[in-house]
Symmetry: none
Amino acid sequence: MNRVSIISIGDEILIGQTLNTNAAYIGEKLTALGFEVIKSFVIGDEKLSIHESLRSASEDSEFIFITGGLGPTHDDITRDSIVEYFKTEFVFNESVLKRIEERFQKRERKMPEVNRQQAYVPKNATVIENFVGTAPGYDISHKGKTYFVMPGVPSEMKSMMENYIIPKMKKNAEENEIFYRQRLLYTTGIPESGLFELLDDINSWLGNCKLAFLPSQFGVKMRISHRGSTIEEIDEELDNVEKQITELVGKYIYSNEELLLEEVVGKILLQRKLTIAVAESCTGGIITDRITNISGSTKYFLQGVISYSNDSKIKTLGVNVDSIIKYGSVSEQVAIEMARGVRNISSANIGVSTTGIMGPTGATETKPIGLVYIGYVDDDKEKVVRYRFAENRLRNKERTSQAALELIRRMLLGIADET
Amino acid sequence: MNRVSIISIGDEILIGQTLNTNAAYIGEKLTALGFEVIKSFVIGDEKLSIHESLRSASEDSEFIFITGGLGPTHDDITRDSIVEYFKTEFVFNESVLKRIEERFQKRERKMPEVNRQQAYVPKNATVIENFVGTAPGYDISHKGKTYFVMPGVPSEMKSMMENYIIPKMKKNAEENEIFYRQRLLYTTGIPESGLFELLDDINSWLGNCKLAFLPSQFGVKMRISHRGSTIEEIDEELDNVEKQITELVGKYIYSNEELLLEEVVGKILLQRKLTIAVAESCTGGIITDRITNISGSTKYFLQGVISYSNDSKIKTLGVNVDSIIKYGSVSEQVAIEMARGVRNISSANIGVSTTGIMGPTGATETKPIGLVYIGYVDDDKEKVVRYRFAENRLRNKERTSQAALELIRRMLLGIADET
């Protein structure tokens, strides 16, 4: 009674132009609620394929998730296919049209006539409101199965999942007494194999829980999960395992609440009423971009300086020209002067800096691609850390930004020297 | 005779832990060779599902690609499932064992006994050698269909594709005279429906080509594709369609070579030997991050200032305090002063700025969420454009960054006032 199939409609996925992040997102969320994702199809914008996959999914799944092909143009045929499959008809939905019109008005644009089509919805569907785009989603019940039809644009799909589907599925899981819980422990600064080694004899303390390692360029997430007969029993087992893991590798865990590292850092700064400024050379703005992705960051983030040219390091940040000549712009000395400089000009409590070589060009005999210095200065402390990353340009930027945010977290919590 | 199905085996994809990059890679390569990828399944490590998807794929495809589940441990059941499905048996393959043993010797490790299993291969299979791992692949012909079975580790799968399968499929395409080409036109600043309207009576000029719209927060990609009997004929038809589209919506197209907008802008700057500096308030660094993602950007990007606080706008950029008091920091006047300021302090040819309200908080009675001013200043020209985006915080930042880069492109090409 808890099986899920996912149908992703779109040639762009089949021909490898777009990665199927939608199916991954849906799979992750449904798994977290205790549902079992048993298969996932990708098919083209083609009526017969859509019907065939709907039939196949309906055979062994109770919940069928369909994404893609709901746009207003000629190659979007999911709506028609759905109406045919369920042998129903289109009905005009006034409130959907109103919402689409409002959307265009708000953006001060005229609504193209073709968008009016999207207000015709299958008669057997409950409309799922689209807060971030024009195409409405559908929630359809048919012969004991539930079908959720959503647009393929990831943000629109996610918005519908968060606002409508996940709450509904959560309720369903409770009603059907599906007892499953998982916890995610987010770590950074240590590889999967390093964690594995520190966790030692896992089977001696894991009990009936499952433990999975999910690595990415931002770190390794550990997922502890458990399926049991009461929530209390599950929670108790998960508590024990989480406690054990925290004892062994706690300093690498920056969140057990599924928070991004920039959120965790922001919370600490806010709590302590501290302000921060960032001087980025090699990272080119990704650190300030991440910090300012968090709503409310205006309360603690004052200023960034992206000093790509040496001239800007000297003129805007006040880096000593002799330091650049003597040590080079990628050096411990320049990193600390950049951090001091941006702290000075912004009057922030904390100044952070990055300087490095992101590749593919720019390496010298003594300074390889991936070499990075991160500087940190606050009221009492100064620190520079050196990293050597070995990825491509974008990955090196991402990894450096993660290392810088983690340095801030550890300096603020006083655990920076333990690593 | 040229239809392809892809079967990806592995729970980690179903539960959203791993993105299905294998299917994307296979889809891209086969499409480029002129094959038609008609469906792609993801299923768990489960014999019945494997058999069912093999049956379904064999019904309408000539080529079936299977990845995953070939490892040596207990949860890898693809080998057994394949042997059962084809009603064949395992035979011991001496040379496969030798290669696996050599692999361990080279790494100075003892081969675990469990790897010996991998030398038993289906009797009806031709072995595909694995140069980067232990599990061999299989090439199986059965009732006029071809099955390629590969490991799920992306590097092993890719190695087999490059060394064995792609050359074989290329030969097959030539023998069967399969001719296919596609082109991508990248647009921004206009929604899918707007393009559709401007393209008017598409069917009157599309001929035998196909046209697809692929929208994202960075704009809409148009894909024109064609399958024909000679390459010359296809190229001619695609030329005609591209010419027609360019006449109707050319000013929105920033690339017909699959380049990112920041690459296009970088190329123009480099070509004209111009330098640029950026002052970002609301975008928080995403514009400089995107500019510096491009290798070689150090030649034209001098400096960024992320002036989140009013203080930093005044002190670092030299914005007039009276302008902030009179017009507010989100205003045309402050946008232009920020652009002038960052151009001044960096001595760049071009200064660009953003100021706006990204949400979810910060709106006032006269200034709603999504209101943005983008400033542009160069040697001869000054311009401010006003936008009203209506998305969430991250999307508003992304959209503003795309609009700013597009403003730079249009100002440089002298087409900014036509919109």
